[in-house]
């Protein structure tokens, strides 16, 4: 059924009652200059978050305690009702335009934002909310709200928002915002006194997209150093239509990407962390880099992850993170791939794979260099035929033999 703004439906009374739902967002035109981010706010009965951890967004993709998971592509949330912490009575789903106001953008540049509520298990659509967005000056849009009423979960389509973007939206629900990505960065803020309660720290909304090849940013070491760095590669794994059962069988219609890296340690040792040759690395032992599994099934919507033990960053000299198309014809454009680098208390970095070269199988994504203990991240997005050529380009000096995945 299609909902109008203001209309509500019962999720719990649906037969069979879903244990978990997916709230999936899509927009038209699908290809847009807008950078769109999906956010969720888990609210107590008061209509406010209990703390900043109840704000689920690109810097914080899960609700502590469970129940809400933001997909790696940033376009859907999975909500498992029984897993929600007690006291959460509303979940607001919102869509925001990154730096929309600063860039003179708004939802008026889209024709429609379409939301589907699906049974997470069967993917059956329980309700859809097609919202015409032409003429909307807002850069933050409250899509709808899941709420508990008389013991049942309901969804209300909202379709209202804020011209001022994510910052006023977050404040509305009681999230303390340290930086407003939509206004020019202020002069260097005074050093914050060490805070006893880390939760009292205002949340960073900042997300930095490295737009151009060669652009770079330095993540500065603070206090004890870095915590864990998580590098995620996510890509469009193909819809059921283009992939599907037979698509998977014949290997057509889907592109499988592998994430890996070449590293060089301060002591001169160098190597690769990748699924090829089962070189998954280690977090506690050198190289302090680990690849979290290889997902050729495409079952994980989260893509692939490389983790770096930030506490051991002093031992690392540099890392080149790469993506590899192991099987099938290279079609980088179709993957719509995005690399994000997250580390606590730092802005999220995002690099999109662009300037595609479909004659090449490998893409060097980003360089991470140890510069006086800080992490300098540079966007590469350079394409290469194989490991050997890539290695030569960045001077790791490794020996290469043909390998395959176990």
């Amino acid at each position: 059924m299609d909902l109008q703004a203001g209309q509500n439906i019962s999720i719990s009374r649906h037969s069979p009652a879903p244990a978990a739902i997916t709230v999936a967002l899509a927009w038209e035109p699908a290809t847009t200059a807008l950078t769109l981010d999906a956010n969720a706010f888990a609210l107590a009965a008061s209509g406010k978050v209990r703390g900043d951890a109840d704000f689920i967004f690109y810097n914080q993709p899960t609700l502590p305690g469970g129940g809400i998971q933001r997909a790696g592509d940033g376009r859907s949330f999975t909500i498992t009702f029984a897993a929600l912490p007690a006291g959460i009575e509303h979940i607001v789903i919102a869509l925001t335009i990154d730096q929309g106001q600063r860039r003179g953008q708004s939802f008026g540049q889209l024709t429609q934002v379409r939301t589907e509520i699906r049974d997470a298990q069967t993917q059956a659509v329980l309700a859809a909310f097609p919202l015409a967005t032409r003429m909307m000056a807002e850069t933050a849009l409250i899509i709808g709200e899941l709420y508990l009423r008389n013991g049942e979960w309901k969804f209300r389509a909202v379709g209202q928002g804020f011209v001022g973007g994510l910052a006023p939206l977050a404040r509305q629900y009681g999230v303390e915002v340290a930086d407003d990505p939509d206004v020019a960065a202020p002069a260097a803020p005074p050093a914050a006194p060490p805070s006893a309660a880390p939760s009292a720290k205002p949340l960073r909304l900042e997300k930095i997209t490295l737009e151009k090849k060669g652009s770079s940013i330095s993540l500065e070491k603070k206090g004890a150093g870095f915590d864990e760095l998580v590098i995620n590669l996510n890509w469009n794994q193909g819809s059921a239509k283009s992939g599907g059962f037979f698509g998977r069988l014949t290997g057509s219609g889907r592109v499988d990407l592998d994430l890996g890296c070449l590293f060089k340690l301060r002591d001169g040792r160098a190597g690769a962390v990748q699924a090829l040759g089962d070189s998954f690395g280690s977090l506690q032992q050198p190289p302090y880099i680990q690849l979290m599994g290889d997902d050729r099934s495409g079952a994980s919507a989260e893509g692939e992850f490389l983790r770096i033990n930030g506490r051991e960053w002093a031992h690392i000299d540099r890392i080149v993170v790469f993506a590899l198309i192991y099987q099938g014809a290279p079609n980088w454009a179709e993957t719509d791939a995005v690399v994000t680098l997250r580390t606590p208390h730092q802005p999220t970095l995002e690099i999109r794979l662009d300037s595609h070269r479909n004659d090449q199988r490998m893409c060097a994504l980003a360089m991470l260099e140890n510069q006086s203990g800080n992490i300098r991240v540079t966007k590469l997005v350079e394409y290469f035929a194989d490991h050997r050529v890539l290695d030569q380009a960045y001077g790791f000096g490794l020996r290469w033999v043909a390998g395959s995945k176990g």
Partner: protein, 191 residues
């Protein structure tokens, strides 16, 4: 305990409030937090004869006519945004002063310029209308406008009507499109 209405429910409250004398009808909603046109909800009352129509325009109590000519119905005034705690608009009815020809008083709530602003009750935060026995200060009935009538823009909340020497309240909870103008026409006022 107050009775919570669902859409289309009719409740006769002879047990809850058999000797109603002074009645307060309160309307509340949250001021708009998001950007865009404010939500302006209006509470109104119509004094109706046995034919279900007003005797004249003087029997229509609303934001531009805050008091009935008989003085039995008093509107506390227009709130255009829903700002503030508690009831945002209220109508006070002194049943002992209602003229004998008036058989029924209908209470309605409408959204001002709902069509132009493309608004409905479901878009308004925490919108309700409630009936309070003003002498005992007990809430008798409440209708949560955003839940059961979410896409409506006009609502008949309920009717107070004569039953012998007593007054009773019937909770109607019926929604309409067309706003206040449609309500007026229904009760015999030409706009």
């Amino acid at each position: 305990m107050a009775i919570s209405l669902n859409k289309g429910e009719r409740l006769s409250l002879s047990k809850e409030a058999p000797h109603l004398k002074k009645v307060l009808v309160g309307l509340g909603w949250d001021a708009r937090a998001t950007d865009g046109a404010d939500f302006d909800l209006d509470a109104s009352a119509f004094l109706l004869g046995i034919d279900g129509k007003v005797r004249s325009e003087a029997d229509f109590i609303f934001y531009n006519q805050l008091k009935s000519s008989c003085g039995s119905v008093q509107h506390t005034g227009d709130n255009r945004t829903g700002a503030g705690e508690g009831d945002d608009e209220a109508l006070m009815v002194d049943l002992s002063r209602v003229p004998a020809e008036v058989q029924k008083i209908a209470f309605t709530v409408t959204i001002h310029e709902a069509d132009a602003r493309r608004q409905n009750f479901g878009q308004v935060g925490n919108a309700y209308i409630r009936l309070v026995n003003a002498e005992t200060n007990t809430e008798v009935a409440r209708y949560d406008l955003a839940e059961d009538a979410s896409t409506e823009t006009a609502m008949i909340f309920g009717e107070l009507y004569r039953h012998g020497s007593d007054w009773k309240f019937s909770a109607v909870g019926q929604g309409y499109a067309g706003g206040l103008a449609a309500m007026c026409r229904q009760y015999g006022i030409n706009i």
